[in-house]
Symmetry: C2
Subunit: 346 residues, 2 copies
Amino acid sequence: MNRQVPTLEDVAREAGVSRATVSRVINGIRNVDPHIQDSVRRAVERTGYAPNRAARSLVTRRAETIALIVSGAGDASEEEQDAFAARVFADPFFGRVVSGVVGFLRGRSMHPVLMFAETEAARDQVLAYLRQGSADGALVVSTHADDPLPGMLAAARLPAVLFARPAHPVPLSYVDLAHRDGARLAADHLLDRGCRRVGTVCGPQDVPAGRERLAGFRDALARRGHPHVPVAEGGFTLASGAAAMIRLLDEHPGVDGVFAANDLMAQGVCQVLGERGLRVPEDVAVVGFDDSSAATACRPPLTTVRQPVERMASAMAELLDEHIRGVRTEPTSLVFDPELVVRASA
Amino acid sequence: MNRQVPTLEDVAREAGVSRATVSRVINGIRNVDPHIQDSVRRAVERTGYAPNRAARSLVTRRAETIALIVSGAGDASEEEQDAFAARVFADPFFGRVVSGVVGFLRGRSMHPVLMFAETEAARDQVLAYLRQGSADGALVVSTHADDPLPGMLAAARLPAVLFARPAHPVPLSYVDLAHRDGARLAADHLLDRGCRRVGTVCGPQDVPAGRERLAGFRDALARRGHPHVPVAEGGFTLASGAAAMIRLLDEHPGVDGVFAANDLMAQGVCQVLGERGLRVPEDVAVVGFDDSSAATACRPPLTTVRQPVERMASAMAELLDEHIRGVRTEPTSLVFDPELVVRASA
DNA sequence: ATGAAAGCGCTAACAG
DNA sequence: CTGTTAGCGCTTTCAT
């Protein structure tokens, strides 16, 4: 059997024209006789031709591929890297990012290559991958404040767009959410429903999202006469949220409203409350953040601040596409608005 | 500034040898004077050379890339495709697959391209992608019984390995779990802890995993004197598990043990039980399946049948690698053993 | 052991 | 509007 894939040459012969003409038709370049276009298309059909991407890349210098990178900061061992990957994907957040990116790429004949950059070596690999043209650009989701990758990408002048503003300024485009506004939405909702002593299980304070959500929450409360806010810090995971809630409750037994900086932690908060015999929302109202799948999986379903992750990820991919095509050259930031989703928890 | 990436030519000039020699050194081919090897390596260092993957692919006919495909069966609209992607990634299961695959690929200079194949067009794209050599093979996770992709892959004689045995026989390698054994583990545990009236929220009966888990559960119970098993079918999602549990409870109010065919459904089962005022495990014991993140997120934490997804995914990648390299030619199946993980729910 | 040379399949000037 | 031609950067015989 003939595993030989047909080439341009074959199609050209079949259609009785030159390679160049076939190439023009394939790439949709005008200035080709409609008649010939037709016969070429038929020849393509007959031969089952599909352009060889490597050959095309070699001359166009485009890989039609982008790297979707989840990067950390550490220098992890093999096992830690596996654990990192596992943890990352256990968080429903990343699935939404992937989904948004794929949504944009679909039909654009661009494909995402998944990469993890948790170690020095992995970061170098990512750089090499991009520099050798295996991918045209990078979409990066950092999980740590001191992730060196964005800086490396910028220094190498490689097209890259970040999800969320980096902790340290870097001349790269990014998409982000108006975290402060989101936190304010949560604060106002808690106050409006009558909570008098509200606290928060905030996120890690070394990442902007964690900081901003806390700052926004405090601001909003201060503006409405609550200068002091009980706070316990978590790490954006369910377990850390539960642990933080235990501390919060121990120090401030009277809280009647809690804002958790993401849904996973809010779920942990609800579990702790349940174990303490406190009802949600009757005894303590809980507001989450993200509107991830954890929000609906939680009992009771979470009132939460929706972050349009899919749209943000899609916009991120679009920004990158523009940078790659060269239609956008300056670093740009796109900040999305959050939205309150009211369910049963508050 | 010089964005021009150095080529083999540059390195050769720098080292004072021919391109061929540099190529040999880079690709670790013996028969090169150790002395020259050294000077070449230094030249590579100095120039910061990284081989151009497209050029290499063009001649080796290897992309060093594999497609990681999540495929369905339908012919969905754009929005449905987005929803599909979102749903797929909301399931912690896929994250574990990705994690296992990445774990195997790491350090092997192979990279996974993420693809979704929910529509006719998407499937054709996948085929074209592989046939034009953009990827050397495919890892496919089907979500539906009548997914045509495996058959297409086999017919095109493209290297491919499946996660889970396909519903309809296809001459492709796959990795799978001994589902029946897993279900038996669950049944025995429930019986051993004293449950007398056990039922099950089973998975979709058109996919082998759903069927096998139910069959195994029934067999085990029958063998221990329980010929009749209350059953309600779910769709492997939390909501469907909850709905199934409601039906099960309505028809068989006396159940004191439930086996849910995956953790997500088990979580739904626990929620329903909680809402009915039934305690887990005191009134009704619950056993899940998978040992996914849902198992620990659940209250109480789930006793469950562990499926070593990461190891399975890693093995799947290894099988594919062997098929690609040609060291394995016959379709092969690798079946892993499940393991009972006892937590609080049963 | 090393180099010269011939492509891999495609696009993009450049002619015509 | 179409064909000819010259590479893209690399690997791989084939000589030497």
